[in-house]
């Protein structure tokens, strides 16, 4: 205690140098802890983009494709899943709930997603459910609920009438003029891709496309048929070399050529859309071979299905909550092995982690830089302590004469550097949180990115502990010198 108070008073005596030393350590701690804290925070909120969903199921495709197209709305989905298949899986005893997702339309660059009330009931991000800032979920087939960013950017209010365009991204095709939607809900901000999407009912999507087909606003069709369904080319890697054009028309290739011998198909689905499906299946089956010369057949269903990858009786993907988590992997295998329709089921947590790995490498670079700044901060402390020693020889001699042991001198100096390191670390942490709370608002507004202000994680604590320990160790160097000189100086240090 005596030593600590001595050390503190001595540091205060050299206030400017001490303050600068603390500041330089603090800044490096800020960088190191800040980087780690923000990284962990972003990772968590990234991992929290989707929660509670055990499996995401899409048409056969890559894991990332399924994840990106459903959760992040970025890649184009790979084809679709027939309603019948969906209904069958929905009835699976291991499955507790499902959320259907129908993609492929957009509104002024924002995705339009067809789903059901199950989405609002079961979808979770960061363990929160989707809630509304205003209004509620779409129920009628002209209802639409819009995400926070959509409302903000486009300045939409409740009751706004909007027209949905076919296709996604910048390139949209025909607009479904004949079937305008009305905003019935504005979803509270989620800081996830939900903010940048519009939600309508499956029936709404269907109605829109039916209108389209019957009377509709000039399908920019035939060429669109080839490209628009974006997903088409991505479909089913191995399935059948040439199905590109064929995909759109009604899921023809959805049955894998090899696996076709489908007793499954014979058995199948009870629900009403069912009858339509097997027909497709078979049709498609025949096509697969002859698809190359698409053109002849084109009108056959070209009229019928037009340019849609989201066929009216198809959805793009569905989310699954299992009865018990334990069944997830078994269920995933079962789905991936489905012979009726080639599916890809992914575990979102695993896929997110995989995706994050890519980001991880950049982190390492940042962390290395941060570590070096800590080293520089400590080196700065060493320099300042060491160079102050010459001026303090007298002080050390006095302390020795007055009863301080050499070990006391060592302890004093080590304590001083330790105190500087502790103060630096504390100030650094304070700066991190000050910085975060200052940056949080602007970053949210500008980038729609949620920087959670979170408690220090174990990694951060470990860094802090290392820095403080290093601080004490750094003090040993001048302490050793002071120890030596206080012995050599005896009672008459040259001043």
């Amino acid at each position: 205690m005596v030593l600590l108070s001595l050390a503190l008073k001595s540091l205060r005596n050299r206030l400017l140098v001490s303050a600068l030393t603390v500041l330089s350590i603090a800044l490096s701690v800020t960088l190191l802890v800040g980087v780690e804290n923000v990284r962990a925070g972003v990772r968590d909120s990234f991992a929290g983009t989707i929660r509670g969903t055990d499996l995401i199921v899409g048409a056969r495709g890559g894991t990332m494709q399924v994840l990106m197209s459903t959760v992040f709305g970025m890649a184009t989905p790979a084809g679709g899943i027939t309603m019948g298949t969906y209904e069958q899986w929905k009835a699976h005893p291991a499955i507790k709930w499902t959320i259907p997702y129908s993609l492929g339309d957009s509104h002024r660059g924002f995705r339009v997603i067809g789903t059901t009330s199950e989405f609002f009931e079961h979808y979770r991000f960061r363990n929160e459910r989707v809630t509304f800032a205003e209004g509620g979920a779409p129920t009628g087939d002209t209802d639409v609920a819009i995400g926070h960013d959509v409302a903000q950017r486009l300045g939409y209010r409740m009751g706004q009438k909007i027209v949905v365009a076919h296709g996604t991204g910048g390139v949209t095709f025909s607009e479904h003029q004949a079937h305008p939607f009305t905003v019935v809900g504005i979803i509270a901000r989620t800081f996830t891709p939900i903010d940048r999407a519009l939600y309508v009912t499956l029936a709404g999507i269907e109605a829109m496309h039916e209108l389209e087909e019957s009377g509709g606003a000039a399908p920019a069709a035939p060429p669109a048929g080839a490209t628009a369904p974006g997903g088409a080319p991505l479909v089913m890697p191995g399935a059948s070399g040439p199905p590109a054009g064929a995909t759109a028309p009604g899921g023809a290739p959805l049955v894998m050529p090899g696996s076709s011998g489908p007793p499954a198909q014979a058995a199948p689905p009870p629900p009403p859309p069912a009858p339509k499906k097997p027909a497709h299946g078979e049709e498609g089956h025949e096509h697969v071979d002859g698809d190359e010369h698409d053109h002849d057949d084109e009108h056959a269903h070209g009229d019928d299905e037009a340019e849609h990858d989201h066929d009216d009786d198809k959805i793009t993907a569905f989310f699954v909550g299992t009865q018990t988590r334990l069944e997830t992997l078994r269920l995933q295998r079962e789905m991936n092995d489905d012979t009726r329709e080639p599916l890809t089921a992914i575990v979102p947590g695993v896929a997110l982690a995989e995706l994050w790995q890519g980001v991880g490498n950049a982190e390492v670079g940042l962390k290395v830089v941060a570590f070096f700044t800590v080293l520089i901060g400590l080196a700065g402390m060493l320099v300042s302590l060491y160079s102050s020693l010459e001026a303090r020889r007298r002080e050390m001699a006095i302390l020795r004469a007055v009863g301080a042991r050499p070990s006391t001198i060592v302890a004093l100096l080590v304590l001083e550097s330790g105190v500087l390191a502790v103060l630096g670390a504390a100030l650094g942490v304070a700066l991190v949180y000050a910085g975060l709370s200052l940056a949080q608002g602007p970053v949210e507004d500008r980038f729609g990115l949620l920087i959670p202000i979170r408690a220090l994680g174990s990694t951060e604590w470990m860094y802090l502990a290392l820095i403080v320990i290093a601080g004490f160790l750094v003090g040993l160097v001048p302490a050793w010198k002071a120890y030596r000189s206080s012995l050599v100086d005896g009672l008459s240090p040259r001043t």
């Binding site: 005596v2 004469a401 007055v402 008459s492």
Partner: protein, 237 residues
């Protein structure tokens, strides 16, 4: 702990040889004895080894040969840390100048020995450290300065603070290395008188180093270092 022999002289040196470097001989003292309660004036020209001798007596310097007995304890027999403990307990030391820790107040400077060493604190004879400091400050006429930063004191005041610090905890031996060299003649005498009175009050033996012969008559015993030091060569002026 080292036992103090009440009847032993305060200091006894026998065949002490000391040099800072091999081959160098700063001190070579066949014999020196200083009685308990004496007020000794130790003088000699600059560079004659006065500070070196004090260093040996205080146990700060080690490595010489011969016996250095302080209060009946042979310092050479003690290990380094035991010497430190011995000094902390039984000795008060006053430097020529710059005696004080600049970042401590007057009071804290005076209390420093009791804070750094529990044994020294235990020698306060029932007084609290604060009481002891107040009493010493009163005797040395610095009572009103107790709460001031030492950087605001005159040199004479600083030396009195240093004396108070050397005397706290009733040390048997007080060693002063030219504490008055920065004072003018009047202040020098005033300081000495206060110092003597305080030493008497705590019962301490005083070894006072100076090359200022004018002060010599005030002391009970005078020792010329060149006279007792065989290594004394008129080297530096």
């Amino acid at each position: 702990m080292s036992t103090i022999h009440a009847d032993a002289p305060a200091i006894r040196l026998a065949d002490v040889r000391f040099g800072y470097r091999p081959g160098q001989q700063v001190l070579d003292i066949p014999a020196l004895e200083i009685a308990r309660g004496a007020r000794v004036f130790l003088y000699g020209p600059s560079g004659s080894g006065k500070t070196t001798l004090l260093g040996l007596i205080a146990g700060v310097l080690a490595g010489g040969t011969g016996r250095v007995e302080v209060l009946g304890t042979d310092l050479a027999r003690l290990g380094g840390s035991a010497r430190d403990a011995f000094r902390a307990q039984h000795l008060g030391y006053i430097f020529q100048m710059f005696n004080l820790i600049p970042y401590l107040s007057v009071r804290d400077n005076i209390l420093l020995p009791t804070r750094l060493d529990a044994q020294r604190a235990a020698r306060l004879r029932g007084q609290s450290p604060a009481q002891a400091a107040t009493e010493l400050a009163e005797g040395l006429d610095i009572l009103s300065l107790l709460d001031q930063p030492v950087t605001e004191l005159s040199v004479g005041q600083q030396q009195r603070v240093a004396a108070a610090r050397a005397l706290i905890g009733y040390p048997e031996l007080v060693v002063a290395d030219e504490p008055t060299s920065a004072l003018d003649a009047d202040r020098r005498e005033a300081f000495l008188r206060l110092l003597f009175a305080s030493c008497e009050r705590v019962g301490a033996t005083l070894v006072f180093v100076s090359h200022d012969q004018a002060l010599a008559p005030l002391f009970s015993q005078r020792v010329s270092l060149p006279d007792i030091n065989r290594a004394a060569r008129p080297a530096a002026a």
